[in-house]
């Protein structure tokens, strides 16, 4: 038993200080706006009216909407994990040519504007489309399929980054002791992956539960989720009580979900990791995993190919006309699409830096071994606060920013830098989820050993944690960049005509009449997809570079 010394107190103070920065950002730009909006629902005329909100919660439509949200998101999450884990194995544990490209490919859907992909999906599924025979148009099947399509990248990349670094020797030892490949998988590999799978699953579930464009486009008017309902109640009905009731429900979802996953995720043992990738060429026993990933690649590529093909068709013949149109002002947009791309990249750099620094700080803090239950509970709450932006409606936050941040010193309405901050808030939970499993897998004794040899907090971070989390950190950086490039919900609320980002520009193009605008929207989406894939591939190349030198 160690007594609290001055040095321990000082460290605690510093930890508190480090916690304060991300906390301040999330409180100002998320908690205050949400409380502001929900507050308007609870205090309709300046007086607390809990009964009004409770009544709103008991409307028959609410149960219907909540049930649909829960089952469609759960099913989509389960399917995403089932398809994503074998794909992660193939793309991160095996070695074959073209692998880097495939990793880029599966990330592309994640950033594509949902409106355009929704339209692309529907063109395949509706009346005259090649997949019309499935009868999925306007059904939950189409919604779930699209949710899986969009979110596969989260599972593949989160689990992949974790799996890639797992030391193979443990599996080899089990095999040498006579375990069959299935037994090795079940008793050694999968348990080591649990934290990453749980992390990814949590994020995917929250993305699904708050999906907006996909549900509207593919579900027609028949299927409403909590998120689409909040949008309608807020923007059309101005029914703030109803919206507040649903927003509180969303918060409860997040808290319950994190409570559940914490139990599963925490029991896992620390694992040995290697700093260099150990990949092998595919063998006969990999056939099932290869088949699943082939299916995934085809399912991901089909809508993408149809998107590319359509962007190249003009009046029945092949042409680059739609791409040539991107550098001119079309009348719909105040800036050329090329300028929108530049805006997107600029904002993405800011947002990525913010998300990685703040998310990295959070991840480090919540994975410290804590000795008292109170401290552990505090850390759990701290962790949960940063997950909330994923699970709470962008409409509520968007309106809340206007309602709550309107008086100095917090008068941020219309500030151009709200865009990167909002995107960072969406990316930060992903960064945290990607880093936490890696940091948790570090054996605490290694940290203690380093500390007892005189290493300071940061040196421990650098020499013990960083080598373990290196891949996860790279993956998180790439992912944060992708989130920012593709973010639409919050960005569309906050961007200005002269600083529109690419997804916002695509949305504006696709909502106007004329084949030219539609074609330009398709071409711009393809450009967005290509840029994302390029960034992802480039970030992967960084490994073995400067960061590798540290380990």
């Amino acid at each position: 038993m160690r007594l609290p010394s001055r040095s321990r107190l000082a460290t605690a103070g510093l930890v508190g200080l480090a916690a304060l920065i991300p906390l301040t950002v999330v409180v100002i730009f998320f908690v205050v706006p949400v409380v502001g909006m929900v507050g308007r629902g609870f205090f309709p005329d300046g007086e607390l009216d809990v009964a009004g909100v409770a009544d709103a919660l008991l409307r028959p439509r609410v149960a219907h909407v909540v049930w649909f949200t829960l089952w469609s998101s759960s099913l989509a999450t389960a399917l995403t994990v089932l398809l994503g884990v074998p794909t992660a194995f193939v793309l991160y544990r095996l070695r074959f040519p073209g692998q880097a490209l495939l990793r880029g490919l599966v990330t592309v859907p994640f950033v594509l504007p949902t409106v355009v992909v929704g339209v692309a999906f529907r063109t395949l599924l509706a009346g005259t489309g090649p997949l019309a025979f499935l009868g999925w148009d306007g059904t939950p099947a189409a919604i779930v399929a699209a949710l899986v399509f969009f979110n596969l990248a989260v599972v593949v990349r989160t689990v992949g980054a974790h799996w890639e670094g797992l030391d193979r020797r443990r599996e080899e030892a089990a095999a040498a002791l006579g375990a069959s490949p299935a037994q090795v998988l079940r008793t050694v590999t999968l348990p080591a992956l649990v934290p990453a799978v749980v992390s990814a699953g949590t994020v995917v579930f929250l993305f699904c539960a708050t999906a907006f464009g996909v549900v509207l486009t593919l579900g027609g008017v028949e299927y409403a989720t909590v998120e689409t309902e909040i949008y309608l109640l807020t923007t059309q009905f101005l029914d703030l009580q109803g919206a507040a009731a649903l927003c509180v429900l969303q918060i409860v979802f997040v808290v319950v979900l994190l409570g559940l996953t914490r139990r599963v995720g925490q029991g896992s043992a620390s694992v040995q990791r290697t700093s260099t990738a150990v990949r092998r060429t595919p063998a006969g026993r990999d056939v099932p995993a290869l088949l699943v990933s082939a299916l995934v690649v085809v399912a991901v590529a089909a809508p993408l190919v149809s998107l590319v093909v359509r962007s190249l068709r003009v009046d029945g013949s092949w042409s680059l006309e739609h791409y040539r149109a991107l550098d001119g002002t079309t009348g719909v947009l105040s800036v050329p699409v090329t300028q929108a791309l530049e805006n997107s990249l600029r904002v993405a750099v800011d947002a990525t830096l913010l998300a990685v620094v703040l998310g990295g700080t959070v991840a480090v803090l919540v994975t410290r071994r804590l000795r008292t239950p109170v401290a552990r509970r505090a850390a759990a709450t701290f962790d949960a606060v940063f997950m909330l932006p994923l699970g709470v409606s962008a409409v509520t936050v968007g309106f809340g920013l206007l309602v709550a941040l309107d008086t100095p010193p917090l008068d941020f309405r219309g500030s151009p830098w709200l865009v990167p901050v909002a995107q960072a808030l969406v990316a930060m939970p992903l960064v945290v989820r990607l880093l936490v499993p890696a940091l948790r897998s570090v054996d605490e004794r290694q940290r203690e050993a380093a500390a007892s040899l005189g290493a300071g907090t940061l040196r421990v971070l650098r020499t013990v944690d960083l080598p373990h989390a290196r891949r996860a950190l790279l993956a998180a950086t790439g992912f944060a960049f992708a989130v920012s490039l593709g973010e639409f919900g919050a960005t569309s609320f906050l961007s200005r005509p002269e600083t529109v980002t690419l997804p916002v520009a695509v949305y504006q193009l696709v909502s106007r009449p004329g084949e030219d605008n539609f074609g330009a929207a398709l071409a711009a989406s393809v450009v967005l997809g290509l840029v994302t894939a390029a960034v992802v591939v480039l970030v992967e190349r960084v490994r073995g570079g400067s960061l590798g030198g540290l380990s």
Binding site: T128, L402, G456, V510, E515
Partner: protein, 366 residues
């Protein structure tokens, strides 16, 4: 990533640790402020700026904005805030501390709410076009909102499809419930789309408070397809849209047909049914409590000026309220307006919208 390298040098001593964590904290702060610096830190509204709250459809050529700025001496700051409903609701929620000085984009389906909630200050341009009066908001709000543009939301048909099938296309709202057109009509839903809402209002105007629900029952029985938005209906399901869908009747605008003139062709392949139209008028106004009311008034004047009015069709796909502003040739030729569009009193729309939408949702499963 760099900061790991740099701060990592401070190791061992207590002082080192303190400095290192402090540096991390400092970096976070510096980063936050760096972001704001990079994108321009001008937050304070000086009286030299006029801020316009508008909808996402705002698209105005740079030269026009420059013209306004030069003539008025104010710098124009544009804040797009969603569709007409979102814009109105945001103004209502921020009435105590308005988002800007002027608003443009409140339409006649939301005007009643904006007027009743007191978010607008009285202003009427002194030398606007004479035709403004034709589009003026009826009732109390006439002095609060200035009409800027309008459009007719109409049922469109794919003429080629009907010619090929040898079927006479429909003409009226009533025709759409005719079994001859079963399964041919696609429209965006009223709860999630503003043209969808306009169509619902057209049916309410035509069939009245007591009859519209029956009409919609018949429409549903005739296998109408409902999508969430205009994009979906027109670009995927409409047989003459880019997606080449299987429905030759779609809800769109009277200005849509010119966009279906094929390359090398001389006339559109679609037409608008002018007996099915609901007229949407969009208004501008000065916000109550504006910091720069003089600038806001200058801006409203600008929105009804000949130059701005002339630019409307090509940039925002709407008709100018100034009937002397020249229309693009294709519009003049192929996009005639409805002679007798359906209209409803904005006050009534505002009072009933929620009830109508709930009843509509119950009827359609939306």
């Amino acid at each position: 990533m760099l900061h790991h390298n740099r701060t990592g040098r401070h190791t061992g001593s207590r002082r080192g640790r303190t400095t290192a964590l402090g540096a991390l904290a400092g970096l976070g702060l510096a980063l936050t402020s760096a972001c704001s610096l990079e994108s321009g830190a001008d937050e304070g509204k000086s009286p030299t700026t006029v801020t316009l709250v508008t909808h996402d459809s705002w698209a105005v050529p740079e030269e026009l904005v420059a013209e306004f700025e030069e003539e008025s001496g104010y710098q124009l700051d544009v804040l797009p805030n969603g569709d007409a409903g979102e814009v109105t609701n945001k103004l209502v929620l921020t009435a105590d501390n308005p988002l800007g000085d002027a608003v443009y984009g409140i339409d006649n389906t939301f005007a009643g709410r904006a007027v009743d909630e007191g978010v607008l200050a009285s202003y009427t341009p002194s030398d606007g076009p004479a035709s403004l009066a034709d589009f003026a908001l009826p009732g109390d709000g006439g002095d609060l909102l200035t009409p800027v543009d309008w459009s007719d939301v109409c049922v469109n048909v794919d003429d080629v499809w009907f010619r090929d099938e040898g079927i006479e296309p429909p003409r009226t709202l009533g025709d759409l419930t005719d079994p001859a057109y079963r399964g041919l009509f696609v429209t965006p839903g009223a709860a999630s789309s503003s043209p969808g809402l306009a169509f619902l209002l057209a049916t309410i105007a035509e069939y009245g408070e007591d009859g519209w629900e029956d009409y919609w029952r018949d429409l549903m029985a005739n296998d109408v397809k409902l999508t969430s938005g205009w994009t979906d209906a027109y670009e995927v399901d409409f047989s003459a849209g880019p997606g080449g869908g299987d429905r030759p009747i779609v809800l769109s605008y009277s200005s849509s047909p010119p966009f279906t003139i094929p390359e090398g062709g001389s006339k559109p392949t679609t037409s608008a049914l002018l007996d099915t139209c609901f007229r949407q008028v969009e208004y501008a106004g000065v916000l109550a409590g504006a910091e720069n009311p003089a600038g806001a008034e200058a801006l409203v004047d600008f929105l009804v000026s000949r130059d701005f009015q002339t630019a409307l069709p090509d940039n925002m796909y709407v008709y100018p309220v100034d009937d002397e502003a020249p229309l693009p040739e294709l519009w003049a030729r192929w996009a005639p307006a409805a002679e007798r569009p359906f209209q409803l009193d904005p006050e009534e729309v505002d009072a009933q919208r929620s009830d109508w939408l709930r009843a509509w949702s119950d009827l359609t499963g939306g």
